[in-house]
């Protein structure tokens, strides 16, 4: 087996085994060394000296590719290589600057993470603030509508016996004829349905728009609807979801001024 190993005739697995044995047992390693030495002798017995120029070319070649410090190959053969050394002060300076660089990179990394964290916090605080502002604005609108001296409140009440408690409050501005609705008392529209707002003008229903029950899960308190001229009454109907209709399908609640 060891002979086959040394002649390169073992499989990859066998080679790994032999190398493992050689590490564990010095006798195996010694035996391998003896066989390799014999094969080396065999190769040496058939040696052919290369031309002297090969050595010169070889050293010229490795000096081309060797790092800067060692120069002037022929002097190696004379036994005195010229070696340019770097003074210890520069070495220390180089070492110190590498340490500083690494430290700086580390600090950058830490500060960059902190910066990211802070800017994320700032962004979330700002969006929270915006939400609060919107809320305050809608409350303001609600207050100004309800507190307006021209506002005429109209209660729209259920005419549907199955939903007796539903209804909404309308604020109709006498001076500007603007119409606001507080839909807070409307139950949630069934899936695929929506509430639409109507005004009765000269005895005929005119669509005043789709009522937005809630936005992002929050109930809407005051929604501005379309304005009409002379209005006698308001109504709310339940319609299939989609664009506003021209005629109400199922009127749910009615209230007259």
């Amino acid at each position: 087996m060891l002979e086959l190993y040394c002649a390169g005739l073992t499989s990859a697995a066998e080679t790994a085994d032999v190398q493992q044995w050689a590490k564990q047992y010095p006798e195996v390693a010694a035996e391998i060394a003896a066989i390799e030495a014999a094969l080396e002798g065999y190769a040496r017995a058939q040696a052919i000296a290369p031309a002297a120029s090969v050595k010169e070319k070889l050293f010229a070649e490795i000096n081309k590719s060797t790092a800067a410090p060692v120069v002037n190959l022929p002097s190696v053969q004379n036994g005195s290589a010229r070696v340019y050394s770097i003074s210890p002060a520069w070495k220390n300076a180089a070492a110190a600057s590498i340490v500083l660089l690494l430290g700086s990179l580390f600090a950058n990394y830490i500060y960059y993470n902190k910066y990211n964290e802070t800017s994320n916090k700032l962004a979330s605080t700002q969006s929270e603030l915006n939400q609060q502002k919107e809320l305050a604005q809608s409350m303001d609108t609600a207050m100004s509508v309800m507190g307006n001296m021209y506002a005429t409140p109209v209660a729209v009440k259920s005419i549907d016996s199955t939903a007796a408690n539903m209804g909404a409050r309308i604020y109709w501005m006498k001076n500007t004829e603007e119409v606001y609705i507080d839909p807070a008392n409307l139950p949630k529209a069934p899936a695929g349905k929506q509430y639409e707002f109507w005004a009765i003008v000269d005895g005929a229903p005119v669509n005043g728009g789709v009522i937005t029950g809630e936005i992002n899960g929050k109930k809407v308190h005051i929604q501005k609807m379309k304005s009409f001229g002379k209005v006698q009454a308001f109504a709310i109907s339940l319609e299939d979801a989609g664009p506003a209709k021209t005629k109400p399908d199922k009127v749910m609640a009615v209230g007259s001024i």
Binding site: L4, A37, E40, A43, Q46, A47, K55, F59, I62, V76
Partner: protein, 183 residues
């Protein structure tokens, strides 16, 4: 070359790992002829062999860090690099890999007539000993060790079963060791 310092293999390896050029010069002086002999056997062209030899030593110099002493002798490692490079070169140059089975003693005597042959390392003495190896033993060592053939390839080349390849290789190496011990 008489004043060349002698190194033990361990010293040589340590110096070469530090890119010591004097040690490398010693390495070259000590091993180039043997490696050149191996390359020449494969390429049979003196100039090409020397080109490959130079390239092999550049590789040895550049890759010395990857030599692992626990995996065998320095020469074995160098031979592997050299052999692989030679085979690659032959393939890339479109040569047909030829198995030259040196069963004839002519090759030995031819070398003796050659004035560029290495006279160092007692090569002459060793060479005389090899005459005592049987041709079939020499050819199997040559195919495995120099040509880098696998068991299968040797079996096909020599037209003998795998089992015979193994036993013959074993006896050839045992015989070689005997011969070299008494040389």
């Amino acid at each position: 070359m008489a004043d060349v310092k002698k190194y033990s293999e361990e010293e040589l390896v340590a110096l070469l790992q530090n890119k010591d050029q004097q040690a490398f010069a010693y390495l070259y002086d000590n091993y180039s002829a043997a490696l050149n002999g191996v390359i020449y056997r494969l390429v049979e062209d003196r100039e090409l062999a020397e080109d490959i030899l130079q390239e092999a030593f550049v590789k040895i110099w550049n890759n010395f860090a990857s030599y692992d002493t626990t995996k065998g002798r320095l020469f074995t490692w160098m031979l592997n690099i050299t052999r692989n490079l030679t085979i690659d070169t032959l393939r890339s140059k479109g040569y047909k890999k030829q198995a030259k089975i040196s069963s004839d003693e002519n090759s030995v005597s031819n070398f003796t007539d050659d004035n560029r042959m290495a006279e160092r390392f007692d090569a002459l003495g060793l060479r005389k000993q090899l005459v005592n190896l049987k041709p079939e033993q020499r050819s199997i060592i040559d195919l495995a060790y120099f040509n880098g053939y696998t068991q299968d390839e040797i079996s096909k080349e020599l037209g003998v079963p795998l089992g015979t390849v193994k036993t013959r290789m074993r006896s050839a190496i045992i015989e070689l060791r005997k011969l070299l011990e008494y040389s």
